[in-house]
Point group: C2
Amino acid sequence: MGAQHLQAVPHLTTALTGPLLEIEKRLLERQTAIEQWFHERWLATPAPFYTSVDLRNAGFKLAPVDTNLFPAGFNNLNPAFHPLCMQALQVAVERLCPKACRILLVPENHSRNTYYWENVGALVQLLERAGYQVRVGSLLAEAAGRQSFTLQNGRVVDVEPVERVGDSVTLPGYKPCLVLLNNDLSSGAPALLTGITQPVVPSPILGWWHRLKSDHFTQYRQLALEFGEFIDIDPWLIDPLFRRCGSVDFQKRTGEDCLAENVDAVLQGIRLKYREYHITQTPFVIVKADTGTYGMGIMTVHDASEVRQLNRKQRNKMAVIKEGQIVEQVLIQEGVYTFETLGTEQAVAEPVVYMIDRFVVGGFYRIHTTRGSDENLNAPGMQFRPLAFADSCSSPDREREPDASPNRFYAYGVIGRLAALAAAREWQAVAGTS
Amino acid sequence: MGAQHLQAVPHLTTALTGPLLEIEKRLLERQTAIEQWFHERWLATPAPFYTSVDLRNAGFKLAPVDTNLFPAGFNNLNPAFHPLCMQALQVAVERLCPKACRILLVPENHSRNTYYWENVGALVQLLERAGYQVRVGSLLAEAAGRQSFTLQNGRVVDVEPVERVGDSVTLPGYKPCLVLLNNDLSSGAPALLTGITQPVVPSPILGWWHRLKSDHFTQYRQLALEFGEFIDIDPWLIDPLFRRCGSVDFQKRTGEDCLAENVDAVLQGIRLKYREYHITQTPFVIVKADTGTYGMGIMTVHDASEVRQLNRKQRNKMAVIKEGQIVEQVLIQEGVYTFETLGTEQAVAEPVVYMIDRFVVGGFYRIHTTRGSDENLNAPGMQFRPLAFADSCSSPDREREPDASPNRFYAYGVIGRLAALAAAREWQAVAGTS
């Protein structure tokens, strides 16, 4: 936790910070009560094993736009946060198996992205330091499943194909007591893991083969209402409007009417809110696949007519996402400007908050120098520059201004946890245990 | 966790670091297994609510010399560790009362020490940030129990007298669900707390009216054996030799023979070990009250004849400790040199490790410029200078030398946790639940 991790904090470049200052002020005033509010809710709905949440900070609004239950990017966290991660991992693993010692970490299939493997290496190291044996096992069979990656620090991540033996999964000479998925299962629930006796976290039913962003944001909307009432703010200040279309085919051009109507309805909703808060920015929406990750199948739209005028290239780009899945269901989400910028180059910054179990354990900014404040920053083929959070998200300082950096980080942590709680309820709903 | 907390790390000023390097090397090599070892033991014996452990680092030996179950000094921790403290407090409180919201913190009686009240203020703030309501209640009745202290940051700690209502304790308008003792109960188990339905932690039976240091170090000795076998080191490298005398009266000069014989026996034991490890330092022992804290009733002895030649002043100093308690039982403990020094003035430094529940949450060095390497640094009337640990104790770095600072801090954390585990077993033994 030394000085080597001193980091700049992005600057909020908008004059429209009135409502956000108001949110941050409320969060500060009610911090003890807010923590208590979360305690009670985590008792009713246990937290996901781990979560990362993409936030957008428009100054007048701070909201989650994506919640990942199989988070990568642990390599981007400030090493100063590693003790927090280890503590939280101990709590998370102990709840699942009090005597756990051997963990099987299941990474993405087919990834050649070196950053992704740095993430796997970081997770392995954190789990080992927390006191667990870890081996990395692929869901791919034999040759494809056997890989080896050398990390920047010289360490090697060895991946071995997972074997099914009766009602267990194993690696040669290694019977894990816990399977930890870092694979979002875009192409389906893996037969290898079906019906095994070892606990699998997060549940495969939360993989992108099944999960819908709109279900998540439906849960989040309800929570934003509850929390908004609790701290007495307009829930819109922390919640992006959204609608969905259930049957769209970008290549066959079916479902365009549904799309255009809903884009229009969301834009209209934003306009009303902008008027209420005297915001002069141009409203926009983000159209994205209701399932899937990695920023594929995603576009910024300022007017309903744009979705009727997509050219062939744009339609192709929207039609197919990760692992060749066809997009049919579409989320139309209020676009939230990101008005945090860094440095003289005015690079756009988007905060990503990380949680393990119910604890916020850090985060980082995605920094882009070539994207606008109304564009998605987690786009394929574009390398963002990660900037680790300089402070934890759990040490607000009431002696300082509401927008001083420890307080802004605390606000990130609260909104991130609301999204993680929404994911917990999402799981409770699909698992039918509610 | 930013740069504002950059701190120097004391320098180990001895050439005799061979055995310690060996310990640190073993700890590093076996870190995952060590964490697992602790997991298993915490399952069998839950950790104390909080613990601080005074360590002495002689280079050739790293050992606990005092374990406090009602620790003060939370104000001396690096603020960078506050998130770790808050996480750990949440785990600790939730285990006791899952729905806890209101805590009654019971401080020392009669303390006018401003540093002590800074500690109380720090604890209150940490608990509040962790999501709990806190009020501070004194065991003293009416006028004496009602006090108010203004802290350095301008905040005020208000102390109110605790009231007994039936089988509960309360403050006006406040019914706590948990009583947290920060009072070591030197003068006895308080009637106010006897038989109440609210949980009281740590258990009053662990107060100094009842607890014996020799019981603690008996448990620790057993653990040092187990752990020494586990990591394959001589347990003496982490365990101070000790003996006890059960019936000493310094003023009446009874029990001197017992004292002299046991001082001699411990010195003889040290001599054998020093010979084995080619250590040329002069052996010494610390004679101290077997009960009690605050460094009262404590002296450094190099030869058995010294305890027969105490002058009146020395005898008076040894005879009475905190709150006027008479010393009858005495611990004769191997003196461990502290060879950590800081700065050009070669100030002597002694590490103190803090734990909340089973988690190491930080620590600090007691720095003295006017004491020798064979003297107790926690002495009454002497102000030490606290130096917060710059690093957490849970992030060892195998890429670096065994004595690099993150690795030395990790070693502190392991030895600190062994002492906390010894305290947990001590409680199990006195509570008769083993």
